[in-house]
């Protein structure tokens, strides 16, 4: 069940996560806030984007190893894991879309305690990002941004927002300081799940940044390609986070079914309850295999990573949403309280079927792949 030694996050990383999260995830869920020192400490240890190479001061994890770390965080707190997903996606975006100078400028900051969010979605552009209305234009040696982004994970805590925008008939990705004049960040009140992940709407009113904040050095790349590349990281990260949700649900359900007695015997000895446990076990194994398979493609830089990542995200999020519902069923009233691990899982996992490509978007893309590959 465990990853080979070389692919496990190092013990110190796991210990730091465990120490910082402790038994506080439920409190963070109900209060809707992640404490700043927790984010800064994990970020400063490079663990919010652990694939950043050592030359930039990062831990230099493989995708598989980072995935196991992501699952570990996801099993404890999906809000914190959401921050990890956004930070990792920001670092990956800089790595892929930035110039060497930009990698050297931004990556050390992202493993040094600064926090970043990534902004695609808009009021009119959710699944269909081609309708994005945020625009970038050049004015002298500055880039000017105008637009409105919504539901940006981590934006409430972020120092930097990676903003995707249209530029002429092309696109661009820009590093925008959250404190820049013209940037307004407003929290989304009372989200259904990942409640402490700092989701916020971000307004950009004539925001001016120097041209060297434009990833790649100048605007005008393909917007769909930029978005696809950035989202690939978000997808594999969400997939591993969902594997973590399933691990937590399996642990909670088996512990409860072993200890709680009804009708004179442990719940686990009632066959209908045992089936729930078998389904949870299967879901965790299937999700973990799909994630490991996708990460192997990342680590081998194989073109299969594109489809394998989509598959992992789809499998893992759908399994997690179903598995979390199953876990709540097994715990019943014992888990029916906000803040409880399975109650959080139930709400958090549902949202994972919506973000980074909803179930339906994944299905359309997988079907398209099936048609071309078969």
């Amino acid at each position: 069940m465990r990853a080979p030694v070389s692919e496990r996050p190092d013990a110190a990383a796991v210990a730091l996560v465990d120490e910082l999260v402790g038994d506080l995830a439920g409190t963070w869920d109900t209060s809707g806030v992640l404490p700043d020192p927790v984010l800064r400490k994990l970020g400063g240890a490079g663990l919010l984007c652990a694939q950043v190479p050592e030359v930039y001061g990062g831990p230099g994890y493989s995708s598989l190893r980072n995935g196991e770390l992501t699952a570990h965080v996801g099993g404890r707190c999906s809000s914190l894991r959401s921050i990890q997903t956004s930070q990792g996606m920001a670092a990956w975006t800089v790595t892929r879309l930035g110039t060497e100078r930009q990698r050297a400028a931004y990556l050390p900051r992202l493993v040094g305690g600064e926090l970043a969010a990534v902004a695609f979605s808009e009021p009119g552009a959710g699944s269909d990002l081609s309708t994005m209305e945020t625009r970038a234009r050049i004015d002298g040696d500055e880039l000017v941004l105008d637009g409105h982004k919504v539901w940006i994970t981590g934006a409430a805590y972020a120092d930097l927002v990676v903003v995707f925008a249209g530029y002429g008939d092309a696109g661009t990705a820009v590093m925008v300081p959250a404190g820049a004049p013209g940037v307004t960040i407003e929290r989304v009140p009372e989200p259904l799940g990942c409640r402490a992940a700092g989701h916020a709407n971000v307004r950009l009113d004539g925001v001016r940044v120097p041209l060297d904040s434009v990833l790649g050095g100048r605007p005008g790349q393909s917007l769909p390609l930029l978005v696809t590349i950035a989202l690939a990281y978000g997808r594999i990260s969400v997939a591993w986070g969902c594997a973590g949700i399933l691990r937590a649900c399996l642990a909670a359900a088996t512990a409860h079914a072993r200890g709680r007695r009804q009708f004179g015997r442990p719940l686990a000895e009632h066959q209908l309850v045992a089936r729930h446990l078998a389904e949870l076990f299967t879901a965790e194994r299937v999700a973990s295999r799909a994630c490991a398979d996708a990460s192997a493609s990342w680590d081998g830089n194989s073109p299969d990573l594109v489809t394998a990542t989509m598959l992992a995200k789809y499998v893992s999020s759908t399994q997690a949403a179903r598995g979390a519902a199953t876990a709540v069923q097994v715990l019943a009233s014992a888990g029916a309280r906000d803040g409880h691990a399975v109650a959080r899982a139930y709400r958090d996992a549902k949202l994972m079927e919506i973000i980074e490509g909803s179930n339906e978007m994944c299905e359309l893309m997988l079907a398209r792949h099936a048609l071309s590959a078969a």
């Binding site: 110039t99 790349q221 390609l225 594109v306």
Partner: protein
């Protein structure tokens, strides 16, 4: 055209024809044919990187570079020349 360039174009043509199930001429406009989605473009990026040991990053990610087999082959050659000349971005 050098044999390396020919091999490059042949490799790309082969991949595209396998995936799109239509004949693909070296100068055919893949966007007009509607056969290159952004996901497929990302696959092509990783394919070119892993096959030719190059990195396609930053400013090279314009769709124009993926418009045809010839455009992709030219991109690979440009990056190889740049790396050879030690002026990578």
């Amino acid at each position: 055209m050098t044999s390396a360039s020919q091999a490059l174009e042949a490799d790309l043509t082969d991949l595209l024809e396998r995936r799109t199930k239509i004949p693909v001429a070296p100068d055919a406009d893949l966007f007009e044919l509607g056969v290159v989605s952004s996901l497929f473009a990302m696959e092509l990026v990783v394919h070119l990187e892993s096959t030719y040991d190059i990195a396609i990053v930053g400013p090279d990610l314009v769709m124009e570079n993926f418009r045809s087999v010839q455009a992709m082959a030219a991109l690979v050659r440009r990056i190889q020349d740049r790396v050879g000349a030690g002026t990578g971005v």
